[in-house]
Symmetry: C2
Subunit: 315 residues, 2 copies
Amino acid sequence: MSAAPVVNAPLDLAAWSQRHLARVEQALSRWVGEGAPAGLGEAMRYAVLDGGKRLRPLLVLAAEEAVCSGVAPDEAALRAQSDGAALRAACAVELIHAYSLVHDDMPCMDNDVLRRGKPTVHVQFGEAQALLAGDALQAFAFELLTPDDGSVPPAVQAVLCRLLARAAGSAGMAGGQAIDLASVGVALTEDQLRHMHRLKTGALLQGSVMMGVACGPADAQAHEALSDYGAVMGLAFQVVDDILDVVADSATLGKTAGKDAASDKPTYVSLLGLGNAQAYARELQVQAHAALARSGLADTRALAALADMVVDRTH
Amino acid sequence: MSAAPVVNAPLDLAAWSQRHLARVEQALSRWVGEGAPAGLGEAMRYAVLDGGKRLRPLLVLAAEEAVCSGVAPDEAALRAQSDGAALRAACAVELIHAYSLVHDDMPCMDNDVLRRGKPTVHVQFGEAQALLAGDALQAFAFELLTPDDGSVPPAVQAVLCRLLARAAGSAGMAGGQAIDLASVGVALTEDQLRHMHRLKTGALLQGSVMMGVACGPADAQAHEALSDYGAVMGLAFQVVDDILDVVADSATLGKTAGKDAASDKPTYVSLLGLGNAQAYARELQVQAHAALARSGLADTRALAALADMVVDRTH
């Protein structure tokens, strides 16, 4: 694939995102809560639909698009299969993200009442239903990855489940949340803070990229470069999140701003200062582009644009 | 496999269970909490190790043994691969069961302080850690099913993940818990009660049997018969659970007895009366044996003995 001509024409990220998000929203709306008892299904849909930037699904789809950019146009069947797997993977990572927010907002965790400008799930449906909805969303993520209709090859299903389970579990997202929990009021070093965020936010963002890679054909060079890109994106996302918690207001964020400082949580801003945190975000942006440049893939424009979006975002 | 001679020699269930449980306990002790941050890993291990009847793992292993009972003794490699997959599946279903207990015991659900004679996880580690430990255990179940060491064929990994996700999710265990939640103080019909339990308890028990089946070779006849067996076992387990909640004391149960009546939850005993509930359990026991008899499998003694154990148990 390294031999494929590199595509340099400008990418309209807004149009690209809109096209892909339409597929994701439609799929989520069709799948989430289907077959669930009424109350539970409603809570699951409330937690997932009509909200969020959908960054993780976009990373899955952009990564799949990048690794497929070397596939010959006449291999339509291969491309369609890869696209189908990527759509499922995109929805699955969003379900994991959504469940983590539901549980994270609960009174025994962050006790947050506002999320994406709406009452949080436990406020709307009660704590017990919120707990169950989160649990059911996690299970459903793995159900989405393992269809029995022949649309996704079993070997791809197995890799997607492995990547998602590792990204979500105790050595990934849940582990990062546990470290976060234990670090309130504790002075962390930059290394410790980075380790916490690599697990808490980074694992699922990097996992999203690698799940997209797993849907299509990727050689070792592309695999390694996109893994680096994913790791950098995870860090960048968190650094910018910490910056926005300080500089943005609740209305723009769609959630309670200033929570980190109020709860005495260590952040990149509290550790590095605002100016250095902003400089660090720029440095990570450069690293993300450098990783894409060494991937050998023909078209990494969507991944590049997402890196810019993550660093330049205002909410 | 229908042609294989049926094995009739008596099975010593205690010895059989002891042999298989040793493998399960050793595997769980090796795997659970590995790579997790200290506090989280401790809570995960506390929730899983040294406790429980391990009925679900035993069902996995007994089902795998049954479907492999027609495999020629010289196919040692096939048998070893199947055994390895079954051990992972056995541990995975137990992780799902354990996580469900952790979340179920939390204050916003059943608010129980005693489980298996020990303080519940949230009492011991706090609510936030209990929530995260449950979440991490669910993810880890899918991680166990998807090793990248070549020990389990990808197609088997995919089927195991599919069965477990469906059994655990909104059309299975989590869905049943949601119906249970909504039915406190509500008069259910026997059909509604059966539907609730088919999801809440039955799905994972039947799923355990079918995961065992998926690890070995099974023809359509065996597949269907063991699916029936699993469904009947799920029901029988719950009927006996409801009976024990009335007739046993907390010390024998290792959890608070009389909870159902105290919380005004519908049960088979409240619906059918104690005598009829006991008769129903016996009828289900007969149905379980009948299903095994039509499986065409050479050796279903362990599954048969587990059916007897489920109905005759005193805790």
